[in-house]
């Protein structure tokens, strides 16, 4: 399944995150735009209400400028106050903010005129009503150029419609006082920061989708309402949303493509690794991952894998060679037995011939037995099946026993064995280590000159038992030296076979010594002789 691949999963997560980020971003952008638009619309209608509710100002103050100057107050700037009774008792130096100067203590609702000038004109409701109606008509008319959108409606305190624009939609409910929200604390009628409007000077707004309306209650209880449909805002918002979706989609596509590129680049080394691994699994152990120019985590992993592959290859080829060598060693004696018996049995022969054939067969069988024993010994040491005995013993005694064992063989070649032995207390399997001694000694005899000599010594040296076997024989060519502990490795390809050796002796010695936690080393000079050194830790 393609979606199970890391690349596609990365892509999927990446896409998901992108969609979430872009979606939330677009949504908040849309929300902000929407809030802004609607607030603008609300402000516009509120301004109209403020304009309409403030009679007596020249109409051109509202024309042209999209946002009239006296935002913060119903009363506005330093101008003659035509209606002191209605708006702003303190009209001398016009205080900023508020519905006619906000920062004074809240005036009693009845006292519209205030006592600023000490005179109190009569309250003429009819006059104000007419003023407001005219104002509203004018404001709406000015706004309705070129498209008629704004409408107003003016109710008397008892709910009867005093005036309304012709385009006012039917059935507009008269707002009930206190129904709309008061502007937030610390904000004026338009929602801007500033002193709140004085009581009785508030402009309220309400949204009856798709209409935005604002209204004001005069102190007398009349209500002037201006509204307009929100269609232009909605259309603009739809436009904005469409644009956002398109831009978001484009960004998403770019992001996905970029993600794909990044994922592909990131995955490529992994694909290389897996391709190589497939080849190796198919049997080609010589394959390696190309690590050139990847000095990163994957490069390190590849290098590690390469090292593992190399070890695997070595182990495999060693195993294969070992198997082929072992079978090779067994084939020759089997061939001897086969040819000897087949020839002997091909016709009647004198007894001496049969005897000769049987003797040859016996020799072949003995060789096979020795080989099989060696192979089993190695296999046991390899597998660590048979735990080594852990006994305290004197290494010099083991060496002495070994020397006695090979002395007849040495005498046969006229070789003398010199011992330099100090008592060394060791822990381990004395029988196995005795085998090592005998093996090394018979090796030294085999590869010595006639009438040569062998020096064997055992001593302890800083918690290490050191056993050396030195001969003054043929020595080992430098080219062969690194291989002599390999199984079936022979310096002279068939000399030792003639002498009935399996080619496993040194390999077994090394395995035994290493099983004791020690080491077996060789130093040799061709023509001068060889020295084998066994080092065993003394616990």
């Amino acid at each position: 399944m393609i979606f199970n691949s890391i690349r596609w999963r990365m892509q999927l997560w990446h896409g998901l995150i992108l969609v979430l980020v872009l979606g939330s971003f677009g949504l908040s952008a849309y929300q902000l735009a929407r809030k802004d638009k609607l607030r603008q619309a609300e402000e516009e209608v509120k301004l109209c209400v403020a304009e309409a509710a403030r009679p007596g100002l020249p109409p051109d103050r509202f024309r042209g400028a999209g946002r009239p100057e006296p935002l913060d107050g119903f009363g506005g700037g330093n101008r003659p106050e035509p209606n002191p009774d209605h708006f702003g008792e303190g009209s001398g130096p016009e205080p900023p903010g508020g519905f006619g100067g906000g920062d004074r203590p809240e005036p009693p609702p009845e006292r519209f005129g205030g006592g600023g000038r000490g005179k109190k004109p009569p309250f003429e409701r009819g006059f104000f009503r007419e003023q407001i109606s005219t104002n509203a008509l004018r404001v709406v008319a000015s706004k309705n150029n070129p498209t008629p959108a704004y409408y107003f409606i003016f109710w008397k305190e008892d709910g009867a419609v005093l005036a309304s624009s012709t385009n006012a939609p039917p059935g507009i409910p008269r707002p009930t006082p206190l129904l709309g929200a008061r502007p937030e604390p610390g904000r004026n009628n338009w929602g801007h920061a500033g002193p709140p409007p004085a009581k009785g000077f508030e402009v309220y707004s309400r949204t009856r989708a798709p209409l935005q309306e604002a209204y004001h209650f005069t102190p007398g209880g009349d209500c002037i309402l201006v509204g307009r449909p929100l269609q232009p805002e909605y259309a603009a918002l739809r436009q904005r949303a469409l644009w956002l979706v398109a831009a978001g989609g484009a960004v998403l596509m770019c992001g996905l493509a970029g993600g794909m590129w990044v994922a592909t680049r990131a995955i490529r080394p992994i694909e290389d690794i897996s391709a190589t691994a497939v080849k190796i699994a198919a049997g080609d152990l010589s394959q390696r991952i190309d690590t050139a120019g990847t000095d990163n985590e994957l490069g390190h992993l590849a290098a590690l894998l390469n090292a593992t592959f190399a070890r695997l290859e070595t182990a495999f080829s060693q195993q294969a060679r070992f198997t082929s060598d072992a079978s090779h060693e067994l084939r020759t004696p089997v061939t001897v037995i086969l040819t000897q018996t087949q020839t002997a049995l091909s016709r009647e022969r004198p007894a001496a011939d049969y005897r000769g054939a049987l003797e040859a067969c016996q020799r072949a069988a003995q060789r096979m037995r020795k080989l099989i024993e060696s192979l089993l010994e190695l296999a046991r040491l390899d597998a660590g099946q048979e735990p080594l005995k852990q006994e305290r013993f004197d290494l010099s005694r083991v060496v002495r026993d070994g020397v006695e064992l090979v002395r007849p063989l040495a005498a046969e070649h006229g070789i003398t064995i010199q011992c330099g032995l100090a008592p060394v207390e060791c822990l381990g399997d004395s029988e196995r280590l005795g085998q090592v001694v005998v093996n090394l000694l018979s090796n030294a005899i085999q590869f010595n000159r006639d009438q040569g000599e062998i020096l064997i010594s055992a001593a302890s040296h800083e918690r290490t038992a050191v056993l050396t076997v030195a001969d003054h024989g043929l020595g080992i060519p430098a080219a062969d030296l690194p291989h002599i502990f390999e199984r079936f490795y022979r310096v002279d390809k068939s000399r030792s076979r003639l002498q009935g050796r399996s080619g496993l002796g040194l390999a077994i010695c090394k395995a035994i010594v290493e099983a004791h936690g020690g080491s077996l080393e060789v130093a040799s000079q061709e023509g001068q002789g060889s020295t084998f050194t066994v080092k065993l830790p003394i616990p």
Partner: protein, 216 residues
């Protein structure tokens, strides 16, 4: 037919040499590559059985050096049976390849086939007028009647038959029919030829005086 066996395992060498001798071959043995190469280069053999793992000069090297000078058919004897080794053996000039352990019968059959092939014979049966020779069973018949020949006589007949139409010198015959240990008395060959003529008819072998013998 004279055969050289190069094999370092003494028991194996002895038994192979024995088996070949009993089959009527004149057989020499060599226990290492050096001796083998010397004999192969200096004597005339009809086939060489060559082990690969040899002291001094190994089988590959021996074969390579021999092929510089001679085309004697070589049968490689080896304990290695990997395809790689077989291919290498055949590529380096061996004519056949036998993996240890082998049966003596198979060894003998392969040696026969090798000699037959080198004489460009397709089958083991050779017919010369009224005389027929079966190299596989070593039987000679005249007009369908089996004839009793000694091993030496048979070898002589077989050699001449395999080289029929060609003049075979006395030296060649001595070289191919007697091994190095045989006494090569000069009139021994004449005795064999005379015996064969008695059994197969006087005209079977014609004598080119001063040169050698010929079978038509």
């Amino acid at each position: 037919m004279r055969v050289l066996v190069v094999e370092d395992e003494p028991d194996l060498l002895a038994s192979v040499v024995n088996a070949l001798r009993e089959d009527g071959y004149a057989v020499d043995g060599a226990v290492d590559g050096e001796e083998g190469l010397y004999k192969a280069e200096n004597y005339e053999y009809d086939a060489i059985l060559l082990d690969i793992m040899l002291p001094k000069i190994d089988g590959w090297e021996l074969l390579r050096r021999l092929r510089l000078r001679k085309k004697t058919p070589v049968l490689m004897l080896t304990a290695r049976d990997a395809i790689r080794d077989r291919v290498r053996g055949l590529d380096s000039g061996a004519d056949d390849y036998l993996v240890k352990p082998f049966d003596v019968d198979e060894l003998l059959a392969r040696v026969r086939a090798l000699i037959r092939r080198s004489a460009s014979e397709a089958t083991s049966r050779i017919e010369l007028g009224e005389v027929a020779i079966d190299t596989a069973t070593r039987a000679v018949t005249r007009n369908g009647e089996p004839l009793m020949l000694t091993a030496r006589e048979y070898s002589l007949v077989e050699y001449l038959a395999l080289h029929r139409g060609k003049l075979v010198t006395r030296t060649t015959l001595y070289e191919h029919l007697f091994n190095e240990d045989d006494d090569t008395l000069s009139n021994l060959l004449d005795v064999h030829v005379s015996n064969i003529r008695k059994k197969l008819g006087h005209d079977f072998i014609s004598t080119r005086r001063g040169h050698g013998y010929c079978v038509e």
